[in-house]
Structures are given as structure tokens and as C-alpha cells.
Symmetry: C2
Subunit: 130 residues, 2 copies
Amino acid sequence: MTTRRDAVHDTLRKSEGFRSAQDVYAEMRLHGAKIGLTTVYRALQALADGGQVDVLRTDEGESVYRACASEVHHHHLVCRRCGHTVEVAGPAVERWAEAVGSEHGFTEITHTVEVFGTCASCSSAPAKVG
Amino acid sequence: MTTRRDAVHDTLRKSEGFRSAQDVYAEMRLHGAKIGLTTVYRALQALADGGQVDVLRTDEGESVYRACASEVHHHHLVCRRCGHTVEVAGPAVERWAEAVGSEHGFTEITHTVEVFGTCASCSSAPAKVG
DNA sequence: CCGATTTTGACAACCATTTTCATTTTGGCG
DNA sequence: CGCCAAAATGAAAATGGTTGTCAAAATCGG
């Protein structure tokens, strides 16, 4: 009962960085897949719920998904130009978040940490910045 | 040329945590202010652009604003129950982000770090979790 | 006070996401 | 295989936050 969901997951795996639901949908249609936008949304949510993909919000408020290599907790270093993403671990940050939280009496602490930058290829490439 | 903008800023200052544009608008109207939703959005954006208020995205994709005490770079520890917010500094995290970024050849590094939890009052309060 | 410029705000337009609901597919069972 | 029930699917409509439009109102300069 998940041919579609697998297809979505598969499409995501082929992508370098984070993709929006609409992106995934468009790409699947390009490859001739017979799937509806609604189903893509549902599959993506299910996948996210199950922890098979990571989700985060764009600055414009769009949800973007990514099939990550490791299912353990990690963060992302995302190139704001090409979207290339590197998964990074940050034990220090985890501890810091925990410390800061309990220091103020907070419990059930969670955190969101994302690092953005311009990757090497994009820095050397032409375009914008002189 | 900014009576409205000041009013918006003022309303924000009276709030404990992050508030959405719609919240601010609703509250201002409650206090009898004659202002339109459009103007609130514009004021909030202007304020955010000028660095007078901090912005972040809810999990639901809503933009929420807050008039912070310090205008220097800092992060937030937000209670997911009552919205109470504590401003926290994290030199270690700043350095970590920089390090991780340059380690992978990224430049112009920026980062988003937000910590969520349940504050002391809310933990002891009744409601949800047993 | 007059015209130019900016600000304002009601309302329409956008657009990603969700909901609705009828149809299709899938699975168990005789 | 034929049948019924539950789950999945997807087209289209509804939602809802945010932005764009544009005319009216406030403000500024002279």
C-alpha cells in the first residue's frame, strides 16, 4: 500500500538538497509518473512522520523535504545558492541547547539549528556578488 | 511618518513572546486603534528590516515577531506552551556554525538557532501531559 | 492654500497546503 | 472469480496567511 509513497521517497533520494512538495510533484510528472499533488503531500507527511525524511521551512514559508543519509539526529549546512546540502553533527550544540534550556528551568527541550552559506563552487562561480 | 509603525512596535513591546501579524492586528483593534491589517504587515516588515524586531517562522509557517531587548545577535528559548521567551547568547554556537561552514568551504555563513521547551511554570501546571 | 509624494487600508489576488468527496485499488473470504 | 469493506488516490474547492492594487487621505514643500 505504498507504491506511490516509495516513488516519492525515491524521487527525493535522487535530489541533492531540499525540495518542496511542488518540486517533487513536478519532477515526478516529468518522469511520467501518474500521481496527484495531494498524494505527494500525503506521502511527504507520512515520510516525515516516520522520520524517513527531514523537513524544514524556507524563508518564504515553504516546507522543503530531504531524504537524509542518516536517520539519527543531525543538522544541515545548506548552500543558499544551489541548495547543495551537507549533513553535519554537532554534539556541542546539542549539549548547549540542553544546558541553556535547563538553566532556565525548561524541560522537554528540542531545537532547530540550520546553517546557511555559499558553497565553494558557488562562491567561485560568476553571478551576483562581484 | 510613523505613528502607525510606532504603535505596532509599541504593541509588540508589551507582549511576552512572539506574536503573529494577525495577533498584533487583533490586539491593536481591541485597544481601539484605527489601523488596517495591511499596514500592520508593512510596519512589521519595516521593523524587521531595520532590525528593531526579530522574526521567525512557526511550525505552521506563520511569521511571528518580537521586539527584543537587545539588538545584537542572540537566540531564543521559547516555551512551546505559553510562548514565554528568553533571549540567550551562544558564543559557542556562533563559533561552531562558522567552523562547520568553513570546514566545508562555505562562505557568508549565517545560521538559525532556536530552542523550544516547556518552561517551569508550564511543566508544573496541569493540562496535557500527566 | 495647491500640487506632489507618501502612507494608509479595503479588497482582490496569490499560492502553498488542506479538505472534501467520489472513484479506484487492494485485501480478505467464500 | 465475484463481492464487500477499508484504505488510497486525486481533482477540484476551500483555507488562510501574506502580498499586490489602487483610490482616498494625510503630509510636505513652497
